[in-house]
Every structure is written in structure tokens, then in C-alpha cells.
């Protein structure tokens, strides 16, 4: 499975990348803004995106995830320290495969990614 990381915090992004690689999946890129996320996603069409709601600058992770879902059919796992900021409308347009509140343990991340992978093959 090929995964896109959308996260503006460099240490978290690099750590997520390592965790994903350790799980035996591929990372197609790391994006820190909505624009970069969309750019990479259009070029690479990943199977899954790991999206942080808060991104650098005025960027919105929710908008990036909604775009990925609507335009490319790419599902997202939403990661955030403030999940409560997600509106019902956001959830409807993103249709996330899971929501992970920060901080989360590697075990949880692994479970969420495996779930997404299983869902993909069904």
C-alpha cells in the first residue's frame, strides 16, 4: 500500500514515515500544506493519506482530505490534537477511515493503517 503523509510538523512526519516503512508500506511523499498534498496526491495517487487537520500557514488538512476523497477517491486517516474542531460537514465530505487523536501510540496507528489496508482489499 502506498501512503501520503500530510503533516506540517517535521519530526512527527519523519517519525510517521519510519513507522510506516517499518510496517512494510511505501511512503509516496510528505506534504506540509494543502497545496503540496494535492500536488503530490495528483501525481502519485496514493492508496491512503494520513492527514493532520492543522497544517502550516492558512492551510486546512480537512480541505486537503476532502479534495483527496472527492477528486481522487483517496481515503484518509485523520490525525489531530483537536478532533473536536471537525464539523459533521467535514466528516461527511472526508469520510475518514479512522480518526486518531494526538498523541496516539504506534499501536493505534498500526491498527488504523492495517484496517484501511484490509478495507481496500475487500
Amino acid at each position: 500500500m502506498r501512503i501520503l503523509i500530510v503533516e506540517d510538523e517535521v519530526f512527527i512526519a519523519l517519525d510517521l514515515e519510519m513507522q510506516i516503512l517499518d510496517m512494510g508500506y511505501e511512503v509516496v511523499g510528505i506534504a506540509a500544506t494543502k497545496e503540496t498534498a494535492i500536488e503530490i496526491a495528483c501525481a502519485q495517487v496514493p492508496d491512503l493519506a494520513l492527514v493532520d487537520l492543522h497544517l502550516a500557514g492558512p492551510s486546512s488538512g480537512a480541505e486537503a482530505a476532502a479534495f483527496l476523497r472527492a477528486e481522487l477517491g483517496v481515503p484518509s486517516i485523520i490525525v489531530s490534537g483537536s478532533l473536536h474542531e471537525l464539523t459533521e460537514l467535514d466528516i461527511a465530505s472526508i469520510a475518514p477511515v479512522s480518526l486518531l487523536g494526538k498523541p496516539f501510540s504506534p499501536v493505534k496507528l498500526q491498527a488504523a493503517i492495517r484496517d484501511a489496508d484490509t478495507g481496500r482489499h475487500r
Binding site: 510538523e9 519530526f11 512527527i12 519523519l14 492543522h54 502550516a56 490534537g81 494526538k102
Partner: protein, 508 residues
């Protein structure tokens, strides 16, 4: 009769007399003062033309004609409250009583004692306005305690002021931007007494007033209430055609200030019926200034709430960052000592970069100062040369740059090409075409090695971090070289990402 005249002249009330034809036959000194006509002017003129306001003239003529015909006069010998006309055209309230007397040459003379109620009336009105003003302020103060959003609160204030002052529309502009870029932005929050005024909302939504521009701009510049009595003929009022079309012809603009600074301008509009006399303007000024302060308070409260949420988010985020740094360091470290050193070193680096990017974000960060701060972990500063153009660093690039430089400094400390007598040069210059910034990190060995140093067999976390920051975050590229003479990294970064444009920060 002579007797009577000298008696009348001593009366405090105006005493006037009129014959059956409606012509003035008596006019005392108090009448001269009250109506502005001298006795010589008044005597022989038509009473109706002299002191009866146009809307009452017909009634006055009819009453006189009826009395002459029937001998009946229902208003005679009673206290009557009505308005009268001064020579200057001003209408004012009076109280009078009229009584008929037989005239010297047969016929009748109608005398009237008249008292001006102008002072009482204006005192009553002032009192009423003050009471309304007090109620409005109380309502606003109560609303301030309610859990409503800033927009709702502003709306409530506008509705209230319009209700109290009889204005038909009200709006709030806020000052955005700094220095010469500052201008008034419409908030889009309006009170409209009638939907037919809607076009003024659209007309206002597209204008931005600079200092001194238009009515709101003049209120902002002068710091004083500004009013216009006739918008259609005011060429400084740029939106006049739209306002004229919907029938709004009067306007008042009030600066909203707190702590000596003007943060916005309240605008109120009325039809030609709206009274903009000194009393109303004074009331608007009082309420407006109170509301201004209240709006600012609400704004601050909302800002604090945002900060609180932001804070909680940051703490959660920081813990995640910590966990990530720990995992990354632990993956690489071969011994506990290595882990300690890597983890704690990186923690300090993140803390430092964070301080530069977040805490000092209110002030701009100069490039040389950023370099200085980011490599402050290196000892022996006399062997370090920093050369960089004195430009302000874009806020979004502060953190990446600080982390990159810190990573390089940590590396230099660890791998001691910075050992005795080596020199470090950190130099930034504009590349060809000046749209590129070349940032060089050069560690020179005082004594070159006899053999080239070994190439690291794997890509370390530091290198990955550099790559992510330089390429991913700053949109640049970098090259590194490790040889006998030392270690060198050359980064090519797009200038537009690094350099802050003046005063763009608050315009968003």
C-alpha cells in the same frame, strides 16, 4: 389704553393683539424678543403670516372667520399648546391663551398671552434622550456578559443604537493592516430597518477606506464624529448614488477607540426625517464610544479563547513531537549515551527554533540574528564568521531555517571537524537573478586530513531532516561535501520563501 400698553410692556409673557381682519394691533417688548419682529415691523402685518407656522395657518384663518360669523371660539380663553414661528424661520413650542375684548372703534380685538416652551421642550427632550441612552448602554453592558459571538454582539449594538437614535441603517468597519497599508474593511455586519436598504450593503462591501478617505476614513483620521446632512450633494461620500437611490440621505461616522488607538469606525445612516441635531450627535457619540470599547473587549475575549484553544492544541502537539523525536533518536542510537545526547540535543534545538518562530513572532526576525541564535550551541565564537544580508525572515521559514542551522551546528559539535583551530563560515548571499538565496555552511579544517574521511554508510536522521526542511518546506535544494579540507553544505533557497514582505502579516 395707554395704561394697558405700559402694563403689557412690563409683562414677562409676550402679549400680542389682533383685530377682526387678523392684523396686528398690539405687540409688547417680550413679543419683540420672542418672535424677532420689532413692534414697528409687526404692527399692521398679518398675524398669521408673522408667527403662525404654515401648517397651522389655514386653521388660524378658519377659526377667526368662524368667530366673526358666529361669535363662537372653542379655543378662546384656554391654555393651548402649539408651535410658533420665529423671524429666522425656526419653529418652537409655545403655550398661549386668547381672549377677545371689545375694541375702541367697535369690533373686537383678540389678545393673546404667549409663553415660549422652547427651554422646557429642549430640557424634556434632552432628558428623554439621556434616558434612552442609559437604557441602550445598560442593554449593551448586559449583552456583553452573555455568551454570544463577536458578530452577534456587534449586530446587537448596531440594532440598539439605531433604535435609540432613529437611524435606519448601521454598520461597523474595522481597521486592518499596519502603517501605510492599513485601511478600513467592512465587517458586513449591518442593521437595516428595511430590506429596501439592502443595496447599500453590497455597495459598501467592495470599498476599502484609507486614512482620510470618504466619511469613515475622515472619522478615522480626525478621531472625531463626522456627520453629513445631505449625502447626495457630498462629493466626498463615494457611495452616494446607491444611498440616494434607497432614500438614505444622512450619515454619521464615529471612530471606535481603545487605548488611544482607533480600531474601527461605526457608521449610521438615516432618511431625511432623521434628526442630526447636537443632542442626537452627542448621544450617538456617547453610545458609540461605549460600544466601541465593548466591541473591543468582546474581540479581546474571543482572541483569548482562540489562544487558549491554540495553546491546548500546541501542548498536545508538542507531546506528539517529543514522542516522535524520541522514537527517531532511539532508532538510530547504538548506546544509551548516544540516545541521551541525540534526544536532549534535538530537544534543545526544537525549543530554540520554537521560541524564534512562535514567541518572537510578534517581532520580525532578521536573518543574521536568526543564524546567530540557531548556532548558539557552538563554543568559541571567535572562530565563526557569519555573513548574511540584513533582511527580515518570512514567518513560515523561521522554524525550518532555525532547525536546519541547528542540525548543522549539532553535527559540527559532534563530529569535530570543528576541532582545534578549524573555522566555520556561515554565509548567505543572493544568487544570480537575485531570486535565489545561497546559504553556505563551511567548516574549514586548519590542518587538512591526510586521507579523505569515510563516507557514512547510511542516511542518518539529520540528513533526512535537512532534506525534508530544505526541499519540502523551503522548496530549495542542497549539496553536501565532506573531504580532507572540511565539510561543506550549499543550500539554494527561493528568495520569496525566505524574505518577509513588509506588512503582509496582518492583511490576511
Amino acid at each position: 389704553m395707554k395704561h394697558l400698553e405700559s402694563l403689557f410692556d412690563r409683562a414677562l409673557d409676550a402679549v400680542v393683539g389682533m383685530d377682526e381682519a387678523g392684523m396686528v394691533v398690539a405687540w409688547n417688548g417680550a413679543a419683540e424678543e420672542m418672535f424677532g419682529w420689532s413692534r414697528a415691523d409687526a404692527m399692521g402685518s398679518s398675524m398669521g403670516d408673522l408667527i403662525v407656522p404654515p401648517q397651522h395657518r389655514e386653521g388660524h384663518a378658519r377659526g377667526l372667520e368662524r368667530y366673526n360669523r358666529t361669535g363662537e371660539g372653542p379655543v378662546l380663553e384656554q391654555r393651548v399648546r402649539i408651535t410658533a414661528l420665529h423671524r429666522d424661520g425656526a419653529e418652537f413650542p409655545i403655550e398661549l391663551s386668547i381672549f377677545p375684548m371689545p375694541g375702541d372703534g367697535g369690533g373686537r380685538i383678540f389678545y393673546a398671552f404667549i409663553r415660549s416652551m422652547a427651554a422646557e421642550e429642549s430640557a424634556r427632550r434632552a432628558q428623554e434622550l439621556r434616558a434612552r441612552e442609559g437604557e441602550a448602554l445598560l442593554a449593551v453592558a448586559q449583552k456583553l456578559l452573555d455568551d454570544v459571538s463577536l458578530d452577534e454582539f456587534t449586530q446587537f449594538c448596531l440594532d440598539n443604537v439605531c433604535a435609540v437614535s432613529g437611524m435606519e441603517a448601521g454598520h461597523f468597519h474595522v481597521v486592518r493592516g499596519r502603517g501605510p497599508h492599513a485601511c478600513l474593511h467592512p465587517t458586513g455586519i449591518w442593521h437595516l430597518a428595511d430590506p429596501r436598504f439592502q443595496p447599500v450593503v453590497e455597495a459598501t462591501s467592495v470599498v476599502r477606506f484609507g486614512l482620510g478617505e470618504g466619511l469613515p476614513g475622515r472619522a478615522w483620521q480626525s478621531g472625531q464624529l463626522q456627520s453629513l446632512d445631505d449625502l447626495a450633494s457630498s462629493c466626498q461620500f463615494v457611495r452616494r448614488s446607491v444611498f440616494e437611490e434607497v432614500g438614505l440621505s444622512r450619515a454619521v461616522a464615529l471612530p471606535v477607540r481603545q487605548g488611544g488607538q482607533i480600531h474601527g469606525v461605526l457608521e449610521f445612516f438615516g432618511t431625511s426625517k432623521a434628526r442630526l441635531d447636537p443632542e442626537i450627535l452627542r448621544m450617538l457619540e456617547t453610545i458609540g464610544s461605549q460600544i466601541g470599547v465593548a466591541i473591543r473587549r468582546k474581540e479581546n475575549a474571543e482572541h483569548r479563547e482562540t489562544l487558549r484553544r491554540e495553546m491546548s492544541h500546541r501542548v498536545g502537539n508538542s507531546l506528539s513531537v517529543l514522542a516522535s523525536i524520541y522514537r527517531s533518536c532511539s532508532r538510530e542510537a547504538r548506546t544509551k549515551e548516544e540516545l541521551d545526547e541525540a534526544f536532549l540535543g534535538r530537544l534543545v534545538a526544537v525549543g530554540q527554533a520554537n521560541r524564534l518562530a512562535v514567541e518572537d513572532a510578534s517581532e520580525s526576525v532578521a536573518f543574521p540574528a536568526l543564524i546567530e541564535e540557531a548556532i548558539s550551541i557552538l563554543p568559541e565564537r571567535n572562530r565563526i564568521t557569519i555573513e548574511a544580508p540584513d533582511m527580515t525572515v518570512d514567518r513560515d521559514s523561521v522554524m525550518p531555517l532555525a532547525l536546519i542551522l541547528n542540525e548543522l551546528a549539532t553535527n559540527a559539535l559532534k563530529h569535530g571537524s570543528s576541532c582545534e583551530d578549524s573555522r566555520l563560515v556561515v554565509a548567505a548571499r543572493f544568487g544570480e537573478g537575485r531570486d535565489e538565496l545561497v546559504l553556505e555552511w563551511h567548516e574549514h579544517r586548519a590542518v587538512p586530513l591526510t586521507v579523505p574521511p569515510p563516507t557514512p554508510e547510511r542516511v542518518g536522521f539529520g540528513t533526512k531532516l535537512m532534506q525534508h526542511m530544505v526541499e519540502g518546506r523551503l522548496g530549495g535544494s542542497f549539496e553536501r561535501r565532506l573531504d580532507e579540507t572540511g565539510f561543506c553544505v550549499v543550500m539554494k533557497l527561493p528568495r520569496e520563501r525566505i524574505e518577509a514582505l513588509p506588512d503582509t502579516d496582518l492583511m490576511a
